[in-house]
């Protein structure tokens, strides 16, 4: 650990480096990697290229929504698997779709408060390993079965077993539904399309753009410094996000049927985020650590914000979380060079853009006298997003911040805003800059 008796509070907080795995589309069967495998694969090369020893870390913070039963407090598991010292504390955070951003925010706060100097933080999700659970009836039956000591009792208990006992609970589907309001995430997206009059064509066009942008970015090698290859135990390597469809078109997408509001809805699998496995891990450092180890800096965190809103409109979370940051930092939309708004649904990103141009919405829902204005589509998710490369829920927040910093560097730009909507009706946002603090 960076040994300082008393750490200085209030200094700048830097993001010094980061790596992620390729995002791998879920094919219906459990993928080759658990969430901890993914985080370890992203973190090993990240740590190996640092000038400091792994023992210099102060803590590990990881966001993950659905770890497997063997990955409780997954951050600690990841830390130990990485060979971190047993004295190194590690903790897991969960704020649904923004868990990765939450991990960065916690690291940011702890460094700002002077509690830590060097933190490994990020997010990991293996949605293909989301748990499938027994229902309560089955659990009850199993209890009875275990309690039955005599053969006669066992036979009697066996006779009580019915088909309904065997109906599993699909963790992934439950996770993507809001139990309070009884809507799936896709249905909340339909709400936004209804409210802002977003057409099926507009959504599909956005989705096609997402794929084309990702394909162009892959072609341009824009992920070369960001992605670390994955290797499975069967002799295969994975080097790129595999959800991309370079040949995607509005015509093709138009053929897909709506999946959440069947028949009459507009939200389809084609204009929603893909279900994927992936991890993104970043290194955050205090001014002290940057100087001590001579670290190269990717950027600095200026501000972060969390907001709550109607769960049935959860997709507008970014509009709610980003607004207070601009206000606090006395910045206008035009001061932000690039935006990364996580694409849970094409319509949800479009709705956020609409909301910031809607005077009534801004006044009533955001308490703004003036709408902030339009976010330029050419500065938003310029290398694709969840629709094309997927949204491993715990990891996306960390990925968009990492990639935003890479975009800023590539374009020699300064300010970037990353934001996500969060199931349950929340939004999270983080403002970063390449300017020195």
């Amino acid at each position: 650990m960076a040994t300082r008796k008393k750490k200085k509070a209030g200094g700048a907080v830097y993001i010094v480096d980061g790596s992620r795995t390729p995002f791998l589309k879920v094919t219906g069967t459990p993928g080759p990697f658990l969430a901890s495998d993914l985080a370890v694969a992203a973190s090993r090369p990240l740590l190996a290229r640092q000038p400091f020893e792994i023992s210099a870390l102060d803590e590990v913070i990881v966001g993950c929504v659905m770890p497997t039963p063997d990955e409780v407090n997954i951050a600690r598991i990841i830390a130990l698997r990485l060979g971190c010292d047993q004295h190194l504390p590690a903790w897991t955070v969960q704020r649904n779709c923004a868990s990765g951003l939450q991990a960065l925010d916690c690291a940011y706060q702890n460094i700002k408060d002077g509690r830590s100097d060097l933190v490994l933080a990020g997010g990991a999700e293996s949605m293909s390993h989301a748990p499938v659970l027994l229902n309560d009836k089955m659990v009850g039956w199993l209890g009875e079965w275990t309690g039955a000591k005599k053969l006669a009792q066992k036979i009697k208990t066996l006779g009580k077993l019915r088909g309904v006992h065997l109906k599993p609970i699909i963790g992934l589907l439950r996770g993507l539904s809001d139990p309070v309001i009884g809507l799936s995430m896709g249905q909340t997206a339909e709400n936004l399309a209804y409210r802002f009059g977003i057409s099926r064509e507009a959504m599909d066009a956005f989705a096609v753009d997402s794929h084309k942008r990702l394909a162009a970015a892959q072609e341009g090698g824009y992920f070369n410094d960001e992605i670390e290859a994955l290797y499975d135990s069967r002799g295969k390597s994975y080097q790129q996000d595999n959800g991309v469809r370079a040949d995607s078109s509005v015509e093709k997408l138009a053929k897909l049927r709506p999946v959440f509001d069947r028949k009459f809805g507009k939200v389809t699998a084609g204009n929603s985020a893909q279900i994927t496995d992936g991890a993104a891990m970043l290194l955050l450092a205090s001014e002290y650590a940057v100087e001590k180890y001579g670290l190269k800096v990717m950027g600095r965190i200026i501000d972060s914000e969390w907001a709550g809103l109607d769960p049935a409109q959860m997709g507008l979370g970014p509009a709610h979380a980003m607004a207070p940051i601009l206000k606090r930092q006395k910045m206008a939309v035009s001061d932000i060079d690039y935006w990364e708004i996580n694409e849970a649904f094409a319509t949800q990103v479009l709705a956020c853009v609409e909301a910031w141009q809607d005077a009534e919405y801004c006044k009533n829902e955001l308490g703004l006298k003036e709408p902030p204005g339009k976010i330029d589509h050419t500065r938003l998710n310029i290398d694709g997003g969840g629709v094309s490369l997927g949204h491993p829920v715990g990891a996306s927040g960390a990925r968009i911040v990492l990639h935003l910093l890479n975009i800023l560097e590539r374009n020699d730009a300064q300010h970037g805003m990353a934001s996500l909507c969060i199931g349950g009706g929340q939004g999270g946002a983080m403002l970063v800059t390449r300017e020195k603090g």
Partner: protein, 675 residues
């Protein structure tokens, strides 16, 4: 014997009246059963018996384990079979007394419990072992050409049934505590924190001693034994030729004939072991054991200890070396030009870890220690760098130029080259003395030997560090001079080439291979060439041909250019289906009288040349290298030992004769006359 001073054993009685008999052999870190420690053990038992305790617990004070076995040096240097038999009879009496104590007796085992050590433990009523992986129980005597002689052949089948006991004793393999518990060899496998408590509770509760299941008991029945014995012999015959390795057969016979009469069986056990131990096979195998110890000692000359290893080149050798290092607990980075090149190595590593470690959590930990590293991030922190790229001087030199400035000043730079002189490779370095060869053999996970290649420019201290590293990853270091083929390939190649010549003369490959395996080689030379790959054989042969005046048979060239590369291409000297050679039956076919000699004398002659050129430092090391590097018939004790025991002069006569008949390639090396 009168009560001696307590140098090795110590008895303590606790408040519960339990006697705790501690074994802590003086002046050594490992407990063994020698004449002296056994005598003292006897005295302690008599003392304990004269004032019977509530129970007796036998335990070790050594960190290394319970008892590693009998004192091999003392035992094998006994003057006569009679003396050896008497020694074992003495131990039988002692252990029989221990077995008949009226109070409960417990062996408390943590760490190694092997051979005579396990036989002692089998004489107590209960056995409790630490479940830690360091605990290993077994009766490996067969590896030394003998079998258990302290009553193990009687007690082991009785305790766990013949199939389990025979499997243990015939294979010599050792069991973990959990596996031992499963087969009934021990009563409990417990974590260290419960060892003492478990021993006390066993004594307080005194349950009935373990009995094997019905089926296991049946296996010892006098009507079943002859059938089972026949089956066992057939199984053993697949691995060990009775003419070469008599011990397993003696053991099966002993059990089959005498199991119903334990007292007789003890007598016969001692007689059988005594006869075996003075025989050639056992004496040579024991010699091999000590040669192995000698190589291990070479790794102790330097205290070098690595934590991180960086391997460049993820081919078969590089990838497997990296996996082996990770298996042995090191942090490993594996570099190659692209993920596609590394991925197959990760697959093989996973298969290796799964086979060796079994538990998923351990497999995962090993995989976590092995990092694919296309960018070469591991170089700066590595303690050892192993270069295993393709055999090209310029490519290797360029790599060294790039590596040297990035390496830690204390890091070892090693190469797995098998054909390029280190003196040449090291020209690319600022500090040529730091380059040393670590020549592994394929398959890495099975071949224990590593040639430590010292170029003229290599410093002795660096070579010693490399040897220490070899020991750290549980390989046997053999220091060799940097000359073409080093030791193993150089000795092997003329033998392989002679086999190819024989084949081109029209001798069937099956017969050639049979001649070699009859001699005691683990695999025939033709099948070996096919397995290694004929292209690789040709490449090695051509490198050696330049400097050693070996002629490369035309047949080898034509096969390689035809694309018949051996097992990997599906066709070589044999045709392969599912990786197995299709061999015709050899029964009844006649063999030329000098078939074996032609192959072996090419090898022996080359061994002479190696000694003359001082490729290795001694006859012993040559024998050790050839046995562990090629599998050369261990029961013959190695090439040099084989020459000496066969009679130097008669061997010289034979090679003169071969030379007269077949010409220059059998020209006796000058060393034949000198030695």
């Amino acid at each position: 014997m009168a009560m001696a001073e307590n140098r090795h054993w110590r008895t303590e009685r606790d408040a519960d009246g339990i006697a705790w008999l501690h074994f802590d052999m003086a002046d050594t870190s490992t407990n063994v059963l020698s004449v002296e420690t056994i005598a003292e053990f006897d005295a302690q038992l008599r003392d304990i018996e004269s004032n019977p305790p509530e129970g007796l617990v036998i335990l070790s004070d050594k960190a290394s384990g319970f008892i590693a076995g009998a004192d091999i040096k003392g035992f094998t240097s006994m003057e006569s079979a009679e003396q050896a038999a008497e020694f074992m009879r003495g131990m039988h009496t002692i252990l029989n007394r221990l077995e008949s104590f009226s109070f409960p007796t417990v062996s408390l085992i943590s760490g190694f419990c092997l051979g005579g050590g396990l036989e002692l433990a089998l004489a107590t009523r209960y056995r409790i072992a630490d479940e830690d992986p360091k605990t290993r129980l077994g009766l490996p005597e067969v590896r030394l050409g003998i079998h258990p002689g302290f009553g193990g052949t009687v007690r082991a089948p009785r305790l766990v049934g013949a199939p389990t006991a025979m499997d243990m004793m015939l294979s010599g393999r050792t069991l973990s505590a959990r596996a031992a518990k499963k087969v009934g060899l021990i009563d409990h496998a417990v974590p260290e924190r419960q060892l003492l408590r478990a021993a006390k509770m066993m004594i307080a509760e005194a349950p009935a001693a373990h009995r094997p299941g019905r089926l296991a008991r049946l296996s010892n029945h006098s009507l079943v034994r002859p059938l089972l014995a026949k089956y066992l012999k057939r199984t053993v015959a697949k691995k060990a030729n009775p003419g070469h390795y008599p011990a397993p057969y003696a053991m099966i016979d002993l059990w089959c004939r005498h199991f119903d009469n334990p007292n007789k069986m003890y007598v016969e056990e001692a007689r059988s072991v005594a006869a075996l131990v003075v025989g050639d096979a056992a004496q040579n195998l024991i010699r091999v054991f000590f040669l192995q110890e000698e190589m291990k000692a070479l790794g102790r000359k330097n205290r070098f200890h690595a934590e991180r290893v960086h391997v460049v080149g993820a081919g078969v050798m590089g990838g497997d070396i990296a996996a082996w290092c990770a298996l042995r607990g090191l942090q490993v980075t594996l570099q190659d030009q692209s993920p596609e090149r590394i991925a197959p190595a990760m697959k093989r590593a996973h298969a290796l870890f799964k086979k060796k470690l079994r538990q998923p959590r351990l497999v995962q930990a090993a995989m976590d220690r092995l990092m694919p590293d296309v960018k070469g991030l591991g170089v700066e922190r590595a303690d050892v760098i192993i270069e295993a790229i393709f055999e090209n001087t310029e490519a290797k030199q360029n790599l060294y130029r790039a590596l040297e400035p990035r390496m830690k000043p204390t890091a070892l730079l090693t190469t797995n080259t098998s054909s390029i002189p280190l003196e040449v490779l090291s020209e690319a370095l600022e500090e040529p003395k730091r380059l040393v060869g670590l020549h592994f053999f394929n398959p890495v996970a099975r071949m224990q030997l590593v040639e430590i290649v010292k170029g003229k420019q290599t410093s002795q201290s660096i070579a010693n560090q490399a040897a220490a590293f070899a020991r750290q990853i549980d390989r046997l270091p053999l220091p060799v001079k940097s000359s073409p083929g080093f030791l193993v390939n150089r000795i092997l190649m003329p033998y392989l080439l002679e086999a190819v010549v024989l084949e081109s003369e029209g001798v069937r490959p099956e017969l050639i291979d049979k001649a070699a395996t009859d001699f005691g080689m683990p695999m025939g030379p033709i099948e070996l060439a096919d397995t290694v790959g004929l292209d690789i054989c040709l490449a090695v042969a051509e490198t050696l041909a330049e400097s050693l005046e070996v002629e490369v048979p035309a047949k080898l060239r034509s096969m390689v250019s035809a694309g018949d590369l051996g097992r990997k291409s599906g066709k070589g000297f044999y045709s392969y289906s599912k990786g197995k050679p299709e061999k015709a039956k050899t029964e009844g076919a006649s063999m030329a009288a000098d078939l074996t000699d032609r192959m072996m004398f090419r090898m022996l002659n080359e061994a002479m040349a190696c000694l003359r050129e001082r490729v290795v430092d001694s006859d012993d090391l040559l024998d050790a290298g050839v046995i562990f590097g090629t599998g050369f018939a261990p029961f013959r004790g190695g090439p040099m030992h084989y020459i000496h025991t066969s009679g130097h002069q008669s061997m010289k006569d034979k090679i003169d004769q071969l030379s007269a008949q077949y010409g220059n390639r059998f020209k006796p090396d000058a060393a034949w006359d000198r030695l």
